[in-house]
Symmetry: C2
Subunit: 240 residues, 2 copies
Amino acid sequence: MSPLPAASHRVAVDVVVIALDDAGSATRGGGTAGSPGETTRATDTPVALAVRRPRPPFAGDWALPGTLVRDGEHLEAAALRVLAERAGLGPPRHLEQLATFGAPARDPRGRVVSVSYLALSPRPCGVAQRARWWPVAACPHLAFDHAEILTSAVERLRGKLSYSNVAYGLLPDTFTLSELQAVYEAVLDRSVDKRNFRKKVLSLGMLAEAPGQRRGPHRPAQLYRFTDTELVVIDDAITA
Amino acid sequence: MSPLPAASHRVAVDVVVIALDDAGSATRGGGTAGSPGETTRATDTPVALAVRRPRPPFAGDWALPGTLVRDGEHLEAAALRVLAERAGLGPPRHLEQLATFGAPARDPRGRVVSVSYLALSPRPCGVAQRARWWPVAACPHLAFDHAEILTSAVERLRGKLSYSNVAYGLLPDTFTLSELQAVYEAVLDRSVDKRNFRKKVLSLGMLAEAPGQRRGPHRPAQLYRFTDTELVVIDDAITA
DNA sequence: TCAAAAGTGTTACAGCTACACCCATGG
DNA sequence: CCATGGGTGTAGCTGTAACACTTTTGA
């Protein structure tokens, strides 16, 4: 079995980790208000994880967490390793490949082909040194072509929300319908009609009632869970 | 600017070229007949380009056309080069990245990370030596993980047909509505209602009348063309 | 008793599906 | 004149979008 000819490249993975922050501190576009009580706009903000580069090139700039793929290492394993090493995160609830960026000059040090991944996490949990969650809409300039990667991640997430149960990645095991709705509103950046949303999402059969209620200074809310923990594509779009 | 550490890999592109063959020679599943005259089932067959491997590993087996990416070469440029060198094809009407396959053992010679592409061509035009168009449904075993790549290509195409003008890649510059419908029927592998299809596709505004008609032993058919030659995603799905 | 969020139905409209016949041409 | 595909309209139905008030709790 003859060895392959010489041409070889460095291969990296870069991971876009997206979570929802309920602080509501970020720049929100002034969405249309809607009639009172009809469409309560969520305060959740999509945030993405970035790390500050300790070395040139782009030293001091923010970048997506990434790493070179090791010999014999699966691409997905490298993505998981990045999350653990660079951000102190365990395996995310959802991880999928996005696209591969391979422009010859994307890294000034030489050719690096980067396979990008999208990871979802329910909350921006505490992360390692040098790492930070940035609101996607107010993210500083990112090194390399990472701004482009982040954009494609958000577009992918937005698209998949409409025809899959990918919201699973952004929620805890059990959640209320209002919390689910808040995920949709935050990611789609628009308000959603409560009654239509509930009708639609319950009719799809991807949710089941979970025992218990969420209590607070208001009427208790029924908890739900996703029936599938893996990504399931539905043919009937969610457009409430 | 410090050079990167040593870990490096071979990077390849593998291209799934899909075209429609009007021979109708292939294995077609017996689709539902439908009422007479309502749903004339197309005889077009999706075919994919494969090349016979001249050398180990998998010598003599069929495989997708592919090549190692050269130093300084864009990934897409490598895909175009494959089409030209291995199949004698010019730039296709549509080319998009599919996914990247990087399992450590996918190539027995050693680590090769493969970026796969989907290319579309109107017809299975004559190709170089060692290359052949195979009906997708009756394709022989493919080397490496190329069967998996082919499957994901067909799924991608099927999905995109419903919400984009990607059919552009499978048609000549001008075409009749029946020819367009035949593309949908061949790729989706089901029959489509003629009247509903025309209503829908014309209402989307992605087609314009072209001068001239297609003549034959029947009433002449109006020619159309796509208004955009680049991929345009529509929000309103085609489900006639 | 007040504030806050949970929960719930109906109506109008748009778009989808199903369905059959006449037309224009070439042979 | 016949075979072949081109071209057209309607009616029922289904799903969507718009819309406001009552309920239950904690403070």
